[in-house]
């Protein structure tokens, strides 16, 4: 690996590897650098940003209110396309969340120590993305006041959820995913909240941080259980993150619709989810790094590693696209063959080719070191990838539904202003939550960063 610049020195390194954290940090300077972001006066830019995002969020909730009042007929959905943008957005948001869990859990188990710089806000991103995701199916049920029927609550009618339906699997998978991600995130935060508590000046901060840091004392008797709990949560989240998007994909794959009824869906969806999630982590971390001057903590090396993961998962997605085509032909099923030709050359061909361009062509730039170490290139391509991944879900949902078996029941789906408004508004909710997070909580895992500094090693500075 090559270093970004020659500004750091090599003292105390045991291997030739590039240091994960640059700028000759000490334990105290790490604490200061991360804590000061939250302790200093609120920047003007933050107020401007949250004013913008919360306006979108208010629009989101107002439109949802109108949706509940009026019914889901205000959306563009109808026969034959009964699932429109709401389900597209659900899959889009829940997919974005997956990178956060991959970074926090899978890379943790694989001992990828570079994850410590980005795991905290990737996990926050997961939580906020899953919150956005959960809203869409909830409002799509139409009669939201009986949404509790989705849970197995004893009732006088002895009515239970249909556990043979993948839609009910989704309820359990996504709500478990949210709960486990929240717990994982909070457990990671405890030592950092203690750090902030011990630096707090105002009484309010002292009380609030005192409550939420739970009286953490950093004793090894505590670290012992803590580290095992963290490891176990990582171990539990790893199969969970792979299962959640697999379950989401069964919403489609267990139906009989051409273009949906394929066994490749679970791995294909998981790869796509990680792909889109890393793109979102990339977009957000480029902004956060610039705004909060975190160049020492999030180095070009981190971006390079993320872009390699995006290259890999992007090609898995591209492979899935081609295998779908192959299987449609190889199965000898006329309806399958038609569904895929229709995707590429039918009325939604424009969406299909946006998807191909953004998801298959764009990530190819990551082959070149010059391009994958260029912040502008990374920023633009990460946004394009998320556009492409949204279109992937659009293509899957809409193209298959709009033209199924009977040509007499074909149709063309057009979203209404409410579809657009609620989707745009969900970004408002996501960004508002994210802005609150960067203002009030440590955006980088302080105690974990200290653990990967060279001087954290008990053998630091000694010859072996």
């Amino acid at each position: 690996m090559r270093s970004e610049s020659g500004t750091y020195n090599q003292i105390g390194l045991h291997s030739q590897e590039t240091p994960l954290i640059t700028g000759n940090q000490t334990f105290a300077s790490v604490t200061d650098a991360i804590s000061e972001i939250i302790e200093r006066k609120t920047p003007r830019l933050w107020y401007l940003a949250i004013a913008f995002s919360s306006s979108l969020m208010i629009m989101f909730f107002v439109l949802i209110g109108y949706l509940i009042w009026e019914g889901i007929g205000i959306w563009g959905i109808n026969v034959p396309v009964g699932w429109g943008w709401a389900i597209v957005n659900f899959v889009f948001w829940v997919g974005i969340g997956h990178a956060g869990t991959l970074i926090s859990a899978i890379l943790f188990l694989l001992r990828q120590r570079w994850r410590t710089s980005i795991n905290r806000f990737a996990e926050a991103m997961t939580l906020f993305a899953v919150i956005c995701a959960m809203i869409f199916p909830a409002i799509h049920v139409g009669r939201i006041w009986v949404a509790y029927w989705m849970f197995p609550l004893p009732n006088q009618m002895d009515m239970w959820p249909n556990f043979r339906s993948p839609l009910i699997w989704d309820v359990f998978a996504v709500s478990t995913y949210f709960t486990v991600s929240l717990l994982f995130w909070y457990v990671g935060l405890i030592p950092d909240l203690a750090t902030l508590r011990d630096r707090a000046k105002s009484r309010l901060r002292k009380i609030l941080l005192g409550i939420f840091s739970l009286g953490w004392r950093g004793g090894n008797r505590q670290w012992k259980h803590y580290e095992l709990a963290y490891l176990l949560l990582a171990g539990l989240s790893t199969p969970l993150v792979l299962s959640v998007h697999s379950v989401v994909s069964t919403d489609f794959a267990t139906s009989v619709l051409p273009g949906w009824h394929t066994t490749i869906f679970p791995p294909y969806f998981v790869a796509g989810a990680i792909f889109s999630g890393f793109a979102m982590v990339m977009t957000l971390s480029i902004i956060a790094r610039k705004v909060f001057k975190l160049e020492d903590f999030i180095t070009i090396g981190h971006f390079e590693k993320m872009s390699k993961i995006m290259l890999l998962t992007g090609m898995m997605v591209g492979y899935a696209y081609s295998i779908e085509f192959f299987m449609a032909w190889y199965s000898g099923n006329d309806y399958e063959a038609f569904a895929f030709l229709n995707r590429a050359f039918g009325p939604y061909a424009w969406a299909y080719w946006i998807m191909i361009t953004c998801n298959v062509v764009v990530p190819q730039v990551f082959w070149f070191r010059k391009l994958r170490t260029s912040i502008p290139v990374l920023f633009v391509s990460s946004i394009l990838i998320n556009v492409g991944m949204w279109f992937e879900r659009f293509v899957i949902v809409v193209s298959s539904l709009s033209r199924d078996f009977l040509p007499s029941s074909w149709g063309y789906y057009t979203p209404t202003i409410y579809d657009v408004g609620i989707f745009v508004g969900s970004f408002g909710l996501f960004l508002t939550l994210f802005l609150l997070f960067v203002r009030f909580l440590p955006i980088i895992a302080v105690s974990e960063i200290k653990g990967v500094l060279p001087q954290a090693d008990p053998h630091y500075g000694k010859e072996h």
């Binding site: 239970w160 556990f163 699997w169 011990d198 009286g215 090894n220 199969p239 969970l240 653990g451």
Partner: protein, 181 residues
């Protein structure tokens, strides 16, 4: 100050860094102290062994709870769809155990994760916002760059003068005794 110490008191000594803390832990362990702890801003590799601690039992708790959650979920699905109110849906059997797998797995993970967090908190006796250690203005450095040893007064080997002398001899600085004020 008398020589009679209250059981909630705590003696705290500061050490230089991770390596010094590990060495101190080994010496305190060898001296026969039982109720002591080593505080650091991050977990130090090899400290469990240096302090002579056993493995955390949390894995067993989480494993058991995951089994409870998974089997509970499976029984719930079987009972609701095959016993309490059997309904024919899409011609599938009432007891479609294959279809029960995602929810069974989900609840196993959920129970495991919740018990990992609650178990960790219970084993660590947290939340405990008021602890004698927090009465030391020096000790709170532990969350930034301080490395501390604390010995509890309830330890049978604890003696105010002797323990003080011992901690000083193994390299401890800023030694102080704190209690509940």
């Amino acid at each position: 100050m008398s020589n009679q110490v209250s059981k909630t008191e705590l003696m705290i000594a500061e050490f230089e860094g991770p390596a010094a803390l590990i060495k101190a832990a080994e010496k305190i362990r060898d001296a026969g102290y039982m109720s002591f702890d080593c505080h650091s801003p991050f977990p130090i590799h090899g400290m469990d062994k240096a302090m002579g601690l056993k493995r955390s039992p949390l894995g067993w708790i989480v494993g058991m709870m995951a089994i409870v959650g998974g089997s509970g979920a499976f029984l719930l699905q079987w009972w609701t769809s095959a016993v309490n109110y059997p309904l024919i849906v899409a011609g599938k059997p009432f007891f479609s155990f294959q279809a029960y797998v995602p929810v069974t797995f989900g609840l196993a993970v959920l129970f495991g994760a919740v018990s990992a967090v609650l178990g960790m908190l219970i084993l660590n006796k947290l939340p405990r916002p008021f602890h004698p250690a927090f009465n030391s203005s020096n000790f709170i450095k532990f969350s930034t760059d301080g490395f501390f040893v604390s010995i509890e007064a309830s330890d049978p080997k604890f003696d105010k003068t002797e323990s003080h002398e011992f901690l000083r001899s193994i390299g401890g600085r800023n030694i102080e005794t704190v209690g509940n004020h």
